[in-house]
């Protein structure tokens, strides 16, 4: 039995379990300057730049009071099984251990921070089996500094700052200095929260402190909280300004809106195939783009000399009302009425050729290999957003990702059946694992290899998974009914539609929905573009 309807909601803790590779010899660990110490013939003190890690156990005395021998044994075991091997695996050297803490140095700030995260997250795992009172929690501080290395110890301002950072850190957390941050910010996948400049004991200059958040979602939550007030006040200000502009637009487009409303009313809820096929595959006809629904990268006015770029073929769909969702899967419930405005959507998924134009313009991060007309694959949601932003900017038009409601409306092609062609699977109408006479082994080499749906759209179901604008929600409880994207400030995963050549027929259904991590690429994921006319 398949867990049809099972979902995981992710909490992005990057806990890294590290193997126990035996017990290190103390001499070997202390041997931090053997390479240096053996060589320098001069009597001057050997100095070097290093990432210094200081760690200590929070509330050590309380733990000792509770159970002296037990705590001591546990701490020693943690040092032996976790701290020492983890430091070694990250090419660091344990300089010394104190009763409740340790100092280590690393050549690489990246390795140092990674090591800190591993230690902290491993401790989370170790503590879960213990009652709260007996948790051993480390505080870790990491600083980049010029230090003097002695056989048994390490000295210098840099060490003191690391120790102060450790003192500032909350139990279970890693705090780093500005110097470390500058080295690692683009290299380690995790969030960093700036805690500003802090004045610490016996250090003249304040130090810039960052809190490492191994879970980007946590980072965003924190940021959201912190910025909420700022955003609210800012948006109030903006609203006041936008009000005037909006008034102008409303006045200007009133006639146009009236026309659209009429179109919605006159166009049947379920347009017939013939009718929709006659819908001209036009690009934007509306005189005014609607800036309110446009990604923020959209310039206020189209650039005067927009570079000529071949735009994806678009099909404009009249607005309308449709029943979104189905009872086939828990993620597709409840079925709800959605009314959308007129919009345009790509006739095909974005192709390799279209993507590579963006890559050539250095606006998309990688150049794809593969046939020009094949759908672009291995795209993360963020990649797709980059493409949409670039296309909008170069053309001055409101290109964007489709919303989830728009996608389903377009995929249904005016039908209410399980598939756009009816209730039964018919071979050869879509590209999926068991939708064709001969099982599909690979991605179609060309977009539009299967029959178009009644709206004249190709590959709306099967061929390639397609990102939409919406954040992932496990069902439609609380979903918008105006066709807009259902988003939050930041979300760890976004919605995928269509299913791919590697999925079976259930995924081809227009109501099928799935999710994937926002920033992760996968070989069956692509997208198509939408446009607010």
């Amino acid at each position: 039995m398949l867990p049809w309807g099972s979902r995981a909601s992710f909490r992005g803790r990057t806990i890294i379990h590290v193997g126990k590779h035996g017990i290190a010899m103390r001499g070997e660990i202390r041997d931090i300057n053997s390479s240096k110490g053996a060589n320098p013939p001069d009597s001057s003190v050997p100095r070097r730049l290093a990432a210094i890690m200081a760690g200590d156990i929070a509330a050590y005395s309380r733990l000792m009071q509770l159970d002296e021998e037990g705590t001591h044994a546990r701490v020693k075991r943690i040092e032996r099984d976790l701290i020492e091997p983890t430091i070694r695996e990250h090419h660091g050297r344990l300089v010394k251990t104190t009763g409740d803490g340790f100092i280590a140095i690393f050549d690489s700030p990246v390795e140092a921070v990674r090591c800190g995260i591993v230690i902290q997250q491993n401790m989370v795992g170790r503590n879960t089996s213990q009652p709260r009172l007996q948790w051993i929690e480390f505080r870790i501080g990491i600083n980049l500094g010029d230090v003097i290395i002695d056989t048994e110890d390490v000295f210098g301002d840099g060490v003191n700052i690391a120790a102060r950072l450790e003192g500032l850190a909350e139990p279970g957390e890693v705090y780093i200095s500005g110097g470390i941050y500058e080295q690692i910010k683009h290299k380690i996948v995790c969030g960093y929260e700036s805690l500003g400049d802090r004045k610490v004991k016996n250090i003249t200059d304040p130090i810039r402190v960052y809190r490492v958040l191994p879970d980007p979602a946590a980072f965003n939550r924190t940021r959201a909280r912190r910025q909420n007030t700022l955003i609210i006040s800012l948006s109030l200000l903006l609203l006041a300004g936008a009000g005037g502009v909006l008034w102008y637009f409303i006045a200007q487009t009133r006639s146009n809106i009236r026309y659209q409303t009429a179109a919605v009313e006159t166009s049947p809820t379920l347009p017939s195939p013939a009718e929709s096929q006659t819908a001209p595959p036009i690009a934007p006809a509306a005189p005014q783009p609607a800036p309110a629904t446009v990604p923020d990268t959209q310039p206020a006015t189209p650039p005067a000399a927009a570079k000529a770029v071949s735009e994806p073929e678009m099909i404009t769909l009249p607005g309308g009302t449709f029943a979104m969702g189905s009872n086939d899967d828990s993620t597709e419930k409840p079925i709800h009425q959605v009314t959308l405005k007129r919009f345009a959507i790509g006739k095909y998924p974005v192709s390799v050729r279209e993507w590579n134009a963006c890559a050539e313009a250095k606006a998309c991060t990688f150049t794809a290999t593969g046939k020009d007309e094949a759908p672009i694959t291995n795209i993360s949601w963020s990649d797709a957003k980059q493409f949409a932003a670039w296309l909008a900017e170069t053309t001055g038009k409101s290109y964007r990702l489709p919303t989830e409601a728009e996608w389903e409306y377009a995929a249904r092609g005016g039908t209410r059946t399980k598939y756009w062609w009816g209730e039964q699977l018919q071979p050869g109408l879509a590209g999926c694992k068991n939708c064709t006479e001969v099982a599909m082994a690979e991605l179609p080499s060309k977009v539009g290899s299967f029959k178009a749906n009644p709206f004249g759209l190709y590959d709306m179901g099967g061929t390639i998974d397609q990102w939409v604008e919406d954040c992932w929600h496990k069902n439609y409880q609380g979903a918008p009914t105006d066709g807009s994207a259902w988003t939050e400030d930041s979300c760890p995963s976004h919605v995928l539609r269509s299913g791919s050549w590697r999925n079976d027929a259930r995924y081809v259904r227009p109501s099928n929905r799935d999710s994937y991590d926002t920033n992760v690429r996968y070989p069956t994921h692509g997208f198509r573009i939408a446009l607010t006319p």
Partner: protein, 141 residues
């Protein structure tokens, strides 16, 4: 240890001609993938936090090609054998944790289910040899 490496390398090389796509990275020696929770045979009421354990290798973001590290995949009620020449499938039965998650809130319909973890490399291919957990069976009340 060195012989072991060679065996792995040889295995990886031998896998190459079989399919053009076979490009899983070599697994870490003594890598162990396991469920911290739930345990085999557990009966659970409602949704639960599934916690993934990994020894001998590290967890990283999908796409990051750090040596000896990968990302988790949770297979729910999957009976088909794992194809080492293909990326681990992405569907409702193969949950991906490419952001480096080591736990997930799982909601399953009542009844018996099997769970299995598979570690994938930067390109979502299984390692060579595959790093998989024991397949456990749980019951949802």
């Amino acid at each position: 240890m060195i012989t072991r490496r060679f065996v792995l390398l040889a295995a990886a090389l031998m896998a190459l001609p079989r399919a053009a796509f076979a490009k899983g990275k070599p697994a870490g020696k003594d890598a162990l993938l396991y469920f911290v929770w739930p345990q085999d045979g557990a009966t659970i009421k409602g949704a639960f936090w599934c916690r993934f354990g990994l020894r001998g290798m590290g967890v990283t973001h999908a796409g990051d090609n750090y040596q000896n590290s990968g990302h988790h995949h949770l297979l729910v009620d999957v009976d088909e054998p794992l194809n080492p020449d293909e990326p681990i499938p992405q569907d409702k039965a193969h949950m991906h944790f490419g952001a480096g998650q080591t736990e997930a809130r799982i909601e399953l319909p009542p009844g018996k289910h099997t769970l299995q973890l598979v570690l994938g490399d930067a390109e979502h291919y299984p390692f060579v040899p595959p790093v998989v957990s024991k397949k456990i069976t749980i019951r949802i009340k």
